[in-house]
């Protein structure tokens, strides 16, 4: 385990009867922190930033999730990053905030399959049922900080920093095999 990530191409890492884990294609990831009234930013981004932690909003290919009272993560196609940055730059004066490109910081696992939610219980102490479909949370998986997106009952995305990814991947692979071996 702990093998470095040679490839950043989307790929299935493991698939069993229980679940499948693959790595998503790279995209733009922007960490946004701001305080006070958001309309100027919403206008610049072209979506209404959700203000409840865990809620998500989407406009075309741009997706935002609220991670904290002043914090959002934005996902978009790589090409779109520049235009988002400049759009926000224009409203900086009226709405000071921090917008930092962290595209290079993280990687995303796509976890789906009949027992995907159970697979997450190998490392997530929080109740997965507490995350509604279409929402997400920042939480910990086996001690590693991750952002968990619930896209469907049995379909999740998990963002984590590159250097933690092999550790997370290793446990997910063990879990896929372990769950598949269970006779229920």
């Amino acid at each position: 385990m702990n093998a470095p990530l040679h490839s950043f191409e989307p790929s299935v890492l493991i698939e069993t009867a229980a679940a499948r884990v693959s790595r998503a294609a790279p995209g733009a990831r922007l960490s946004l922190q701001a305080r006070g009234d958001l309309p100027p930013l919403n206008a610049a981004l072209g979506l209404d930033l959700p203000t409840r932690i865990g809620r998500r909003a989407r406009a075309g290919a741009l997706e935002a999730i609220c991670l904290g009272p002043e914090e959002w993560m934005l996902h978009a196609p790589e090409a779109q990053a520049v235009e988002i940055l400049s759009a926000c730059a224009e409203v900086y004066a009226s709405r000071p905030r921090s917008l930092v490109d962290v595209s290079g910081r993280e990687t995303t696992f796509v976890i789906d399959g009949p027992r995907a939610a159970e697979l997450l219980t190998l490392g997530c102490a929080r109740d997965i049922d507490g995350i509604a479909v279409g929402e997400g949370r920042r939480t910990a998986f086996d001690g590693v900080t991750v952002i968990l997106w619930r896209d469907g009952e049995t379909s999740f995305r998990m963002d984590c920093w590159h250097s933690f990814a092999p550790h997370v991947q290793h446990l997910l692979e063990i879990g896929c095999r372990e769950l598949a071996a269970e006779t229920i």
């Binding site: 009272p69 929080r126 939480t139």
Partner: protein, 100 residues
Amino acid sequence: MLLIHCPYCDETLPEVEFTYAGQAHVVRPADPSSTSDSEWEAFLFLRENPKGAHYERWRHLHGCGRFFNAVRDTVSDRFLTTYAAGAPRPDLSDLIERAK
């Protein structure tokens, strides 16, 4: 493993998402240079360490990332309440009433 209510996320979550950050309402003097050595010692080191209700700070590190305040009974380890950083100390007697 404790269950902790994050006042920002408004969710009750397992301790592993949080880190303890010591006694709450320890105010850093506005002008440290004008404080005496004893006052600075008190700010740095002197703590209540009560057996019972303890005003303390936690950080939702693997969550919203916010530091917040809590009142916890250090005998039962039960939280009487949690509240946002900067909010005033809640009154203890009501809390203990409500806990009953």
